[in-house]
Each structure stands twice: as structure tokens, then as C-alpha cells.
């Protein structure tokens, strides 16, 4: 019974989180970095749901729902910041934002 094996879902969740973290580390486009953050959040959601099912509780689903709501709000504010930062610039590149550099 692989379909009921939590190790499959938890391994998938761990790899998804690692791929998202790698994307945040190596990509330089702020929009793609944001998408990678969404990947990480979804990996966490998968772990929440797996543990919720494993312990027979609704709490995992509630936590996943709250994570999704916060992710939506975070995407709105983050994209607004990205637009405000990069609309006057030529390149969409996180290395362009260095006003606070000493």
C-alpha cells in the first residue's frame, strides 16, 4: 500500500521545499523567487495534510487553509512591492536594488 504510506508524501514535501529553497537561492528575478516561495509553502501544506491524516485530525487541514490565506496576502503585498520597486527600472533583477548598500 504505497498510497497510504506517509513516507511518500513527506518525502515529496521535503523535496518540494528544497526545490523552492534552491530556486530562491539561485534565481535573480524577484517574480521567480516569489513563485519559489509559493512552492515552499505548498510543500509545507503537503506535510501538514499528511500529518493531519496520519493522526486522524482536522487540525492539519485548518493549518493548511490558514497557510494558503496568508500566502495569498503575502503574494499581494509582495507583488505590490516588486511593482513599486521595479517599474521605474530597466531590469527586473534583485541585484538592482542596492540603495541601502553602504
Amino acid at each position: 500500500m504505497v498510497i497510504g504510506n506517509p513516507a511518500f508524501y513527506l518525502g515529496l514535501s521535503a523535496m518540494l521545499f528544497a526545490i523552492g529553497a534552491g530556486g530562491v537561492l539561485i534565481r535573480r528575478n524577484p517574480l521567480v523567487m516569489f513563485m519559489c516561495i509559493e512552492l515552499m509553502l505548498n510543500g509545507v501544506n503537503l506535510a501538514f495534510l499528511t500529518f493531519g491524516k496520519l493522526w486522524g485530525s482536522n487540525d492539519g487541514q485548518v493549518f493548511a487553509f490558514l497557510v494558503m490565506t496568508v500566502a495569498a496576502a503575502e503574494a499581494v503585498v509582495g507583488l505590490a512591492i516588486i511593482i513599486a520597486l521595479f517599474r521605474p527600472r530597466q531590469r527586473v533583477d534583485v541585484d538592482e536594488v542596492d540603495e541601502l548598500k553602504g
Binding site: 498510497i3 497510504g4 506517509p6 521535503a14 505548498n42 501544506n45 503574494a75 507583488l79 505590490a80
Partner: protein
């Protein structure tokens, strides 16, 4: 056999589209790969009996958030040609190394702990604990979120309001003589 094969296809779909998000040169392709990834994850959520979360995943993420991403990509020029050459090429290797170690540690801790903790009897099966009480139904989810978790649920409404106001305030345009034009 069919079960294992379909699960492997599902896992390959989720992980492959996640890799597509990371490595695609075109930002629009990144967003489209993200949609594929979110649909694959919605199927995975269905396998975990989370029907409401799977539906909300498709509606909120694939329906709203990714469309928002696509709007911003088209607003900020979709061509990747303007990215300059990387001034810090070593950062890519360090990032890959860090992400790989993070993935190994997380996979060991999450999957490995489940696998080895069950008194050496191998991995426990999902749904063995109180199978009668929990069925992942929308009714149980609603009772949990409007009962025990009512206050956090109301707080999310406040967070969404803050996000709404923040998006408007961050992008208000400056008019003549420094007057703010709303």
C-alpha cells in the same frame, strides 16, 4: 502495480513542474509550470482526503495567485534578455549545495522519522488512528474552523484586509507638486 505507477507519475509531475519553475528562462513558462505543480498537488491533497483544501488550492492558487503573477510579469516586461550576466557566479553553486543539503536533511527527518519510529515495523499506514472519527469531510473541516479555530480564522480576514490596503498604498502614484494622487 497500477497504484505504484500512478503515484510515481504524480510525484514526477509535481517535482518535475517544480524544477520547471526554477530552471525556466522565460518567466511566463515559470508561472505555467507553477499551475501544473499546483494541480498535481491538488490531486495529492485529494489522496489525503483533503477535499476542501484541494478545491481551494485550485481556486485560490491556480485561479487567483498565478493569474496575479502573470499580470505582474506582463506589466514588468516578460523578456529575460535584460538580465545581466551574474556578477557572483559562485553563488549559484553555493545555493545548489545548500538547497541539496536542506532537501536531504528534511527528507531524512520527515520521511525517515516516520519510517524508523514505528518500533522497527516499517512505515505506519495513513488513517490507522481513529479512522472512524476523521474522514476529511468538508463538514468536519467546517466544524473545526468555525469552532476550535474561529479566532485564527477571523484573524485571516484581518490579514487579507491589511494586504488589500497595503497593495493600494504601496502603488499610489505621485502627482504634481508632490501631491499624492489616489
Amino acid at each position: 502495480m497500477i497504484e505504484i505507477g500512478s503515484l510515481l507519475i504524480l510525484g514526477a509531475l509535481v517535482l518535475g513542474s517544480a524544477l520547471g519553475v526554477v530552471v525556466s528562462a522565460n518567466n511566463v513558462y515559470c508561472a505555467l509550470f507553477l499551475i501544473v505543480n499546483l494541480f498535481g498537488l491538488a490531486i495529492t491533497f485529494l489522496l489525503l482526503n483533503a477535499v476542501f483544501i484541494a478545491a481551494a488550492q485550485v481556486l485560490i492558487y491556480a485561479g487567483a495567485v498565478v493569474v496575479l503573477f502573470l499580470f505582474v510579469i506582463t506589466l514588468l516586461s516578460a523578456d529575460a534578455d535584460r538580465i545581466s550576466t551574474d556578477p557572483h557566479p559562485w553563488q549559484r553553486n553555493v545555493g545548489l549545495l545548500l538547497a541539496g543539503s536542506l532537501g536531504a536533511v528534511l527528507a531524512y527527518l520527515l520521511a525517515g522519522s516516520i519510517f524508523f519510529s514505528n518500533d522497527g515495523k516499517g512505515s505506519p499506514n495513513l488513517g490507522i488512528a481513529d479512522a472512524g472519527k476523521f474522514d476529511g469531510s468538508v463538514e468536519g473541516f467546517g466544524r473545526a474552523i468555525f469552532g476550535q479555530f474561529l479566532f485564527p480564522f477571523e484573524l485571516t480576514a484581518f490579514i487579507l484586509l491589511v494586504g488589500l490596503i497595503g497593495a493600494v498604498v504601496l502603488n499610489r502614484q505621485q502627482g504634481e507638486e508632490g501631491n499624492e494622487r489616489w
